[in-house]
């Protein structure tokens, strides 16, 4: 394999892995903050216990998220140095902002929250976890501003003399930060993160509610019922948010990256009243003419893209037509035969793998709210198993969401599009580091993959172990006010 392919695999593997951990942190930090606030306001012990319990899972997860995040930042320089040269002027700034505004906040206040129990007032301690929650969400916004520039370049100009994209004056940065793609992506990603975290809380809550009921452990079913219902409500609100923001993001995508959406539907030609494909099979080896569409819902794709079911206004682009358009447009730059189609199989199925799994937590939430109504305790073993099964589903969905977004943009790393700055564009082929040999990239690819695999197993076992341990209600460990000689409340 060439260094390019290896570098792409490396970016894909490290990014998807990092993004398994990140949504949980983004969603869970605010949920833990809410739990601790509920305790602070109502004085109900169960909320403090739950905040501590989910806080531990948050910390285990946060550590690996931070660790793998460092790789993300330096990888652009290591494997994609030509890309870095090309867009550093614009792309680097949101990354630096992320560190200045978010990382310091998260890291410092996480330390204060964890170690500060008993060294500061409960109010101040609760404020600390809120700072963490705000920090992780600011972080998401800036990183998505950077990513959205690659999807929809704005606020930039191409400098022919240096061969680079440059910020279009100070105002250009404002455009990068208010990029409609970035706003859509941020709201979609953050609601998805709440869905991930809400499902975890609901899943563990439900499973433990059933378990503690069967084992007849005093006080526990009520506590876990509160956690589960908190999770159910989070699931329903965030799932609605995911759908709504996904719809807006989809519409932008039809406008900005027609090729990506056409591939997601495996639609070959421009069509009026285009149907939505539910399932298609066939030889996807980047020839969409070979695709057999099995289940279609008429007019829906057109409606999703244009708000029109039929008629000329409902026309949506097809893969082959966009391909022909690009080939003509960029014939001088990249030759007449360059293939501008993303990998169809990956794009088509990852789009479905992004949406499909969400049904599982939604079912859990709807059933859960019904069965736990009027102070009822839910004790069905079948549902307890289902609750555990639902937990990984939003993780899968959000991972495939990223795979779809990034793979659908190929072969561009900075995708030109009708509403963005048209001459700021870069093919992925041209972004790779020039002097790193395939052997070097292979070494680090194997290195990161093996290391991540080992750490991933430990991460999973730790989270599983803490989940199985549950909460012990018999020990009194409420955070006490400052006492000179008391043992530290949290120690390594």
């Amino acid at each position: 394999m060439e260094a390019l392919d290896l570098a792409r695999w490396q970016f894909g593997i490290t990014t998807v892995y990092h993004f398994i951990l990140v949504p949980l942190t983004i969603g869970l930090a605010p949920l833990v903050a809410i739990m601790q606030t509920k305790w602070l306001r109502s004085g109900e012990e169960k909320w403090m216990k739950l905040a501590e319990f989910f806080g531990k899972i948050l910390i285990i997860n946060f550590a690996l998220g931070v660790a793998t995040g460092i790789v993300q930042e330096f990888q652009f320089g290591m494997n994609w140095s030509e890309y870095s040269r090309f867009v550093g002027d614009i792309f680097g700034a949101p990354l630096a902002f992320e560190a200045l505004m978010a990382f310091f906040l998260e890291s410092t206040f996480l330390g204060l929250w964890v170690f500060g129990k008993g060294r500061m007032s409960a109010k101040l301690n609760t404020l600390c976890i809120w700072m963490v929650a705000i920090g992780v969400n600011i972080s998401a916004y800036f990183i998505l501003c950077a990513n959205s520039f690659m999807q929809h370049p704005v606020g930039a100009v191409y400098n022919e003399e240096t061969g680079r994209a440059e910020l279009d004056g100070v105002g250009g940065f404002l455009e990068v930060l208010t990029n409609n793609t970035a706003i859509a992506a941020t709201s979609h990603t953050i609601t998805a993160a709440f869905l991930v975290a809400g499902t975890l809380v609901a899943g563990i809550g439900t499973w433990w509610m059933v378990r503690s009921t069967k084992k007849n452990i005093a006080g526990q079913p009520e506590m876990w019922r509160s956690a589960a219902r908190f999770g159910f409500v989070t699931i329903l609100i965030s799932a609605a948010g995911v759908g709504l923001t996904g719809h807006f993001q989809g519409q932008l995508m039809y406008e900005q990256q027609p090729m990506k959406m056409a591939s997601a539907e495996a639609q070959c030609h421009n069509e009026e009243g285009a149907p939505l494909s539910i399932l298609a099979i066939g030889d996807f080896t980047n020839d969409c003419e070979n695709v057999t569409r099995i289940i279609d819902v008429p007019w829906v794709t057109s409606f999703m893209a244009t708000n029109h079911f039929t008629g000329p206004e409902s026309e949506v682009a097809g893969v082959e037509d966009v391909q022909a358009f690009y080939q003509e447009k960029y014939a001088d730059q990249f030759g007449e035969d360059y293939d501008y189609r993303p990998n169809l199989v990956v794009t088509y199925y990852s789009f479905r793998a992004m949406i499909g799994p969400i049904i599982f937590p939604v079912i859990l939430a709807l059933a859960g709210l019904w069965f736990t109504r009027k102070e009822k305790i839910w004790d069905s073993s079948g549902w307890a198993k289902y609750a555990l099964f639902a937990i990984p589903m939003p993780f899968i969905a959000s991972s495939f969401g990223w795979i779809f977004t990034e793979m659908g943009r190929q072969p561009w790393v900075v995708a030109p599009n009708p509403t963005g700055v048209e001459d700021v564009l870069l093919l992925t082929d041209y972004g790779v580091s020039q002097t790193t040999s395939p052997a070097m990239v292979l070494t680090t690819l194997i290195g990161f993959t093996v290391l991540y695999a080992i750490l991933g197993v430990v991460w999973f076992l730790l989270v599983r172990r803490y989940t199985l341990e549950g909460i012990d209600l018999t020990t009194e460990k409420a955070p006490a006010p400052d006492d000179e000689n008391q043992p530290l409340s949290f120690v390594y």
């Binding site: 793998t68 930042e73 550093g88 200045l100 890291s107 100070v170 084992k215 580091s433 199985l468």
Partner: protein, 381 residues
């Protein structure tokens, strides 16, 4: 607006000063805590001195990386693609160290803790050494060449002659690259540079522990700090004079060098006396001055070429455009004081010395193996 690139050169230096002075002590604690502790409780005393702080300290690295990307894209691209395997090693070590710190106490089992302690210590030693090697390379100069990429997609390029590059004003086609590979980064000078950071961080960690602990443990680390400070003074002196005479490009680098020297002597003196607060401050300034020395020694280049001076990547060549640097300047001006403010507050919150008696007898974490039944658990027939 021509001063902006130079301002940002200073800002990058300041960010690295923040990183190495702060993370320096938690690397030091990481290297020492297993050997200096007599029992498991003392290990936890040592670890808890850095507990609330190491994560925030590490962010200085991320900020330095992000700021370099934005303010000097060419530097970022050339340095990190060129130091490819070295950076990979550093990243792996940092990742394992983070997990070792956070996960060590999660399971209550001797072997579990021992394994993470070993991982932590090994990572701290190696990474402290590697940072020194990396910075010594910046002072010494590396195999930097200017290439003309003829076909980016197939990674074909031609080396541009120094004369041709000097004549050209167009940078679109010509870019700087480190072509020497991993082993070109290892020379006697850079390896000694590795020992410099290693010894400085060891002293830094020992003094920090002496400052943050009480009782027997504190007496012991104080003695250790006194001995280590002499070692770091000697090693750093040899390297710095070598660097100044052989590689520094001007007179100005004598100033931070002199400050570093004075502070290292003071560190050693105060460490002998057991005045750990003064010793810590002196060592802190010494590390800061050493980083300042490195940056003044390479000025006005960001990457010095050991092949031909014409190939060196200068501050101006590496720089981003004005608007980016203006925005970043405004952001830093507002945000950095805030960051420093809450960081200082967090050190104040945890300013109390930790004594072995502050550590609970029960090790933290979940018991290994089968779960103990919950207190109220009643089995149902």
């Amino acid at each position: 607006m021509d001063f902006l690139p130079y301002l940002w050169f200073i800002v990058i230096a300041v960010l690295w000063i923040g990183y190495l002075t702060l993370e320096g002590f938690d690397f030091g604690v990481g290297m020492l805590y297993t050997t200096v502790s007599k029992n498991p409780k003392e290990r936890r005393v040592a670890l808890n001195t850095i507990g609330p702080h190491w994560d925030g300290n590490e962010v200085w690295l991320l900020t330095a990386g992000g700021a370099t990307f934005a303010a000097f894209p060419e530097w970022y691209a050339t340095m990190f693609s060129g130091m490819y395997l070295a950076l990979f090693l550093i990243l792996v070590l940092l990742i394992v160290r983070i997990c070792a710190i956070e996960w060590r106490g999660k399971i209550n089992d001797i072997n579990w803790r021992k394994r993470w302690d070993l991982a932590h210590t090994v990572c701290a030693w190696l990474v402290s050494f590697l940072w020194g090697v990396a910075f010594a390379n910046l002072v010494q100069g590396m195999k930097i060449e200017v290439l003309e990429i003829t076909n980016p997609a197939t990674q074909t390029y031609e080396i541009v002659s120094p004369e041709a590059f000097e004549a050209a004003t167009n940078t679109a086609a010509y870019t700087h690259h480190l072509t020497g590979g991993f082993f070109s980064l290892l020379t006697p000078f850079t390896l000694l540079g590795g020992l410099v950071t290693l010894s400085l961080f060891l002293t830094h960690g020992a003094v920090f522990m002496a400052l943050k602990t009480a009782g027997d443990f504190q007496v012991r680390v104080e003695k250790l700090a006194a001995r280590l400070s002499i070692g770091s003074l000697l090693i750093t002196a040899v390297w710095a004079i070598w660097a100044q005479l052989a590689y520094a490009s001007g007179f100005w680098s004598w100033i931070p060098l002199a400050i570093a020297a004075v502070c290292l002597v003071l560190t050693a003196l105060w460490a002998q006396k057991g005045d750990e607060l003064k010793a810590f401050i002196a060592n802190f300034i010494a590390i800061a001055a050493a980083v300042a020395f490195i940056f003044t020694a390479m000025f006005p280049n960001v990457m010095k070429s050991s092949i031909d001076p014409a190939y060196s990547l200068t501050i101006e060549q590496a720089s981003a455009t004005g608007p980016t640097q203006i925005i970043m300047s405004v952001a830093s001006l507002i945000l950095v004081p805030i960051i420093i403010g809450y960081s200082i507050w967090s050190y104040k919150v945890f300013s109390k010395r930790i004594h072995v008696d502050n550590i609970p007898d029960d090790p933290s974490g979940l018991s290994r193996g089968t779960k103990k039944p919950l207190a109220n658990e009643v089995s149902v027939q």
